[in-house]
């Protein structure tokens, strides 16, 4: 029975894929390291709805609703999510 033919291009291709992946993972590590070194630890500041409402004596719920209405696209998505 003849010996199965070696296919070096297969090895080269899979090796190249591995190298690309390795480079990306190393890149991720660099990105993570830069993230750690970031001075500002607050990652997300959410919904500062209170300030204007508080000063103007507006009910915060209606103020929140008013702001919600001003962002049509986002709110459609949020409403859809909620109904889901």
């Amino acid at each position: 029975m003849p010996k199965k033919q070696e296919k070096p291009w297969q090895y080269k291709f899979s090796f190249a894929l591995s190298l690309v992946m390795l480079a990306l993972v190393l890149g991720y590590f660099v990105q993570s390291f830069l993230e750690i070194r970031r001075v500002q630890p607050v990652r997300v500041a959410i919904e500062r709805i209170g300030e204007t409402a508080h000063e103007a004596g507006i009910d915060p719920e209606s103020e929140a609703l008013r702001r919600k209405g001003s962002q049509e696209d986002g709110d459609d998505e949020a409403a859809k999510e909620k109904s889901d």
């Binding site: 296919k7 297969q10 090895y11 291709f13 899979s14 090796f15 894929l17 591995s18 690309v20 992946m21 390795l22 990306l24 993972v25 890149g27 991720y28 590590f29 990105q31 993570s32 390291f33 993230e35 750690i36 630890p41 607050v42 990652r43 997300v44 500041a45 959410i46 919904e47 500062r48 709805i49 209170g50 300030e51 409402a53 508080h54 009910d59 915060p60 719920e61 103020e63 929140a64 609703l65 919600k68 986002g74 709110d75 998505e77 949020a78 999510e81 909620k82 889901d84």
Partner: protein, 401 residues
């Protein structure tokens, strides 16, 4: 095998692992010291127009702050509290605005979290926190009751909600002297938890039965892993989860029963049964790779030398990842796997390239990610290997006697 034994015999074969472990311990200590954040200063910085005065009732989180504006005490209050997310603790600051019948949430600040960035991004993109705006501090703040979780980030949604709940209810009791009219969260063992238990049971069954019935059970588990563990609940196990356990980030079973079932099933199967059930049957990314192979029909081989060095490669990558995790005290930061992103389709920076590259690799090479890069598979297989070695040694010593 000869290579392994010769590397163990050489002096470097002992020095390098010892040095690697020592550096990990050092990174852990440095990370824990550096993680002592002054949240109070952070909170004050975010609210520059008011002066926050700490209430003397609680010395540790949750803490209530009185709000002084223009030299006069405001009826508002700010509460800082900690909740448990999927990756670790998270800290929030809540400002409540006094109303005639109590108080309403007017501002939420996320001061710190250990969640996978893609989960947090998903929560933000879905406007999760808008649900809290204007809610009364006496509301329940329970996911599934008056708060809706974001699908694909359910556990993080529960964590954020728990932190907000703790903060507003403490403020309601301590600052506003309101009576407890809200419901407390109960043990949550619902359909999701039952499905996960059933999947594990079916996976065990399928792994022992080699006949046709076992085969169908395995197919069913694969479908369940992809749909439920992957796309629906997005609770794939990653290096961050395992590192989080080492760092003591263990969520409450009352709120995160899914986490407990997953970890008990995954670690229990390798430690007690000596079988890696998760990688072979329940990992949704494995299923994705298998499906890509079925679609492409291409099965490129990997050079045997590369396959032999894969263990060293994965261990080296895991070491770098753990160093980053321990230094930042943030399990998600070093976790380089594309799982969370795959099933939430939310990612940050270079993650957008890792996922397509992993999928492309799986299209051409069977189990590309698992064989060359997966730290979880390597970790679980190492436990199985150590367990087997310990059992063999025990059996040999018994025979000698």
């Amino acid at each position: 095998m000869a290579g392994v034994s010769s590397s163990i015999r050489s002096p470097w074969g002992r020095v390098i692992p010892a040095l690697a472990y020592a550096l990990l311990v050092l990174a852990f200590v440095i990370g824990q010291i550096a993680a002592q954040t002054d949240y109070e200063a952070l909170l004050q910085k975010q609210m520059p127009d008011v002066e926050l005065t700490r209430s003397q009732v609680n010395k540790e989180l949750p803490i209530v702050y009185r709000v002084v504006k223009d030299g006069e005490e405001s009826p508002d209050a700010v509460v800082m509290a900690e909740g448990e997310g999927y990756g670790g603790p998270l800290v929030v600051g809540i400002r409540a605005q006094r109303t005639e019948d109590g108080a309403r949430v007017s501002e939420i600040l996320l001061l710190d979290h250990k969640e996978t960035p893609s989960f947090v991004q998903r929560i933000e993109n879905k406007y999760f926190f808008r649900q809290f705006a204007g809610k009364s501090v006496t509301d329940n703040f329970i996911v599934g009751d008056d708060i809706d979780a974001v699908s694909g980030a359910t556990v993080s949604s529960k964590g954020f909600t728990a932190a907000v709940r703790e903060a507003v209810h403490l403020g309601a009791v301590q600052h506003l002297r309101l009576e407890r009219t809200w419901n407390e969260p109960a043990w949550h063992l619902g359909a999701n938890e039952l499905i996960l238990v059933a999947l594990f049971a079916l996976a065990f069954f399928g792994s022992y039965r080699k006949d046709k019935v076992g085969k169908y059970a395995r197919y069913l588990v694969m479908a369940g892993a992809l749909v439920f563990v992957g796309f629906y609940a997005n609770v794939s196990v990653n290096l961050g989860n395992l590192a989080g356990i080492l760092m003591g980030y263990i969520p409450s079973p009352k709120q995160h029963a899914m986490w407990w079932i997953m970890m008990a099933g995954v670690l229990g199967s390798v430690v007690v049964l000596g079988r890696n059930i998760y990688c072979r049957h329940l990992c949704p990314f494995m299923v994705v790779q298998d499906l890509l192979q079925k679609v492409s029909g291409i099965r490129l081989r990997i050079r045997s030398e590369l396959q032999k060095k894969a263990r060293t490669l994965i261990l080296s990558l895991s070491w770098v990842a753990l160093m980053l995790i321990f230094l930042s005290a943030h399990p998600a930061l070093g976790s380089y796997e594309p799982f969370a992103m795959m099933f939430s389709l939310e990612g940050l920076g270079i993650q957008w390239y890792i996922l397509p590259a992993a999928l492309l690799g799986a299209f051409f090479v069977p189990s590309f990610w698992c064989r060359l890069f997966c730290p979880v598979g390597q970790f679980l297989n190492e436990i199985v290997r150590l367990r087997r070695a310990a059992r063999d040694r025990l059996t040999a010593s018994r025979k000698e006697r």
